[in-house]
């Protein structure tokens, strides 16, 4: 069982994370989630800035990954979250989970994303053609936690 957590301004490489995750011979299932900066419906997005609470973000992500390891039989968990200025289509977040079995890998990966969305101190400010706006938290992200409680 291993946990890797990083908060960084540099981009990350899905392929490298994946080759780390599949190193365990007992691992039959790997689920990855990648979050990207996507375009807006109503205006042009020039990019976004990810602010965070240095120190607390790493602790929060490690705690969430540890909770996942305590819930499911997992071989490895990787969580990477970027901060700073990002352009459209850039990668924001990566969660990768390796497990012997498929249901555990899916559940743990989604669990980690659901908690990250509600508990890890990151904030997005969108830079659009109409100005800069802080992204509002979504009720649907909060409701997503209900299933795990």
């Amino acid at each position: 069982m291993s946990i890797f957590v990083a908060v960084q301004s540099d981009d990350f490489c899905l392929a490298s994370e994946y080759s780390e995750l599949r190193r365990n011979a007992a691992c039959g299932a790997i689920v990855t989630f990648s979050g990207l900066v996507r375009e807006l419906h109503d205006t042009v997005l020039h990019g976004m800035t990810l602010e965070h609470y240095p120190g607390m973000t790493e602790q929060a992500l490690t705690q969430i990954a540890t909770d996942a390891l305590n819930h499911w039989q997992l071989a490895a968990v990787h969580v990477i979250h970027r901060v700073g200025r990002l352009k459209p289509n850039e990668q924001i977040v990566f969660v990768g989970v390796a497990s012997a079995h498929r249901p555990a890998a899916f559940a743990a990966c989604e669990f980690i994303m659901d908690y990250l969305k509600n508990r890890a101190p990151f904030w997005k400010k969108e830079h659009t053609a109409e100005g800069d706006y802080w992204v509002e938290a979504k009720a649907s992200d909060q409701h997503a936690l209900a299933r795990w409680e």
């Binding site: 979050g35 990810l50 602010e51 965070h52 609470y53 120190g55 607390m56 602790q59 929060a60 979250h81 924001i92 977040v93 994303m113 990250l116 969305k117 509600n118 508990r119 890890a120 101190p121 990151f122 904030w123 997005k124 400010k125 802080w134 992204v135 509002e136 938290a137």
Partner: protein, 83 residues
């Protein structure tokens, strides 16, 4: 001293990143710290009264009933929007 940090939209609206509060060796609860901050001015009163405000003591999320003491790091921030 209690070091108080503000983040994101809240930091911008208070126009304050960090605030030092003397607690004279007393243990306080977060709610009473919040009251002191709210009483500074009308803008702070308004911005620190949002019911969805989150709070962390020493980088752990806590409810407003949590206590803080000399040397602690207290942070207030809006709902998180990472991921």
């Amino acid at each position: 001293m209690i070091k108080i940090l503000f983040f994101a939209a809240l930091r911008e609206r208070l126009d304050c990143e960090q605030y030092l509060l003397s607690c004279e060796g007393n243990t306080l609860d977060v709610a009473s710290v919040l009251s002191q901050l709210q009483s500074r001015c009308q803008n702070w009163q308004q911005e620190l009264s949002h019911t969805d405000l989150l709070c962390a003591v020493n980088q752990q999320l806590v409810p407003l009933t949590a206590s803080v003491q000399d040397g602690d790091e207290l942070a207030f921030f809006p709902p998180v929007t990472g991921g």
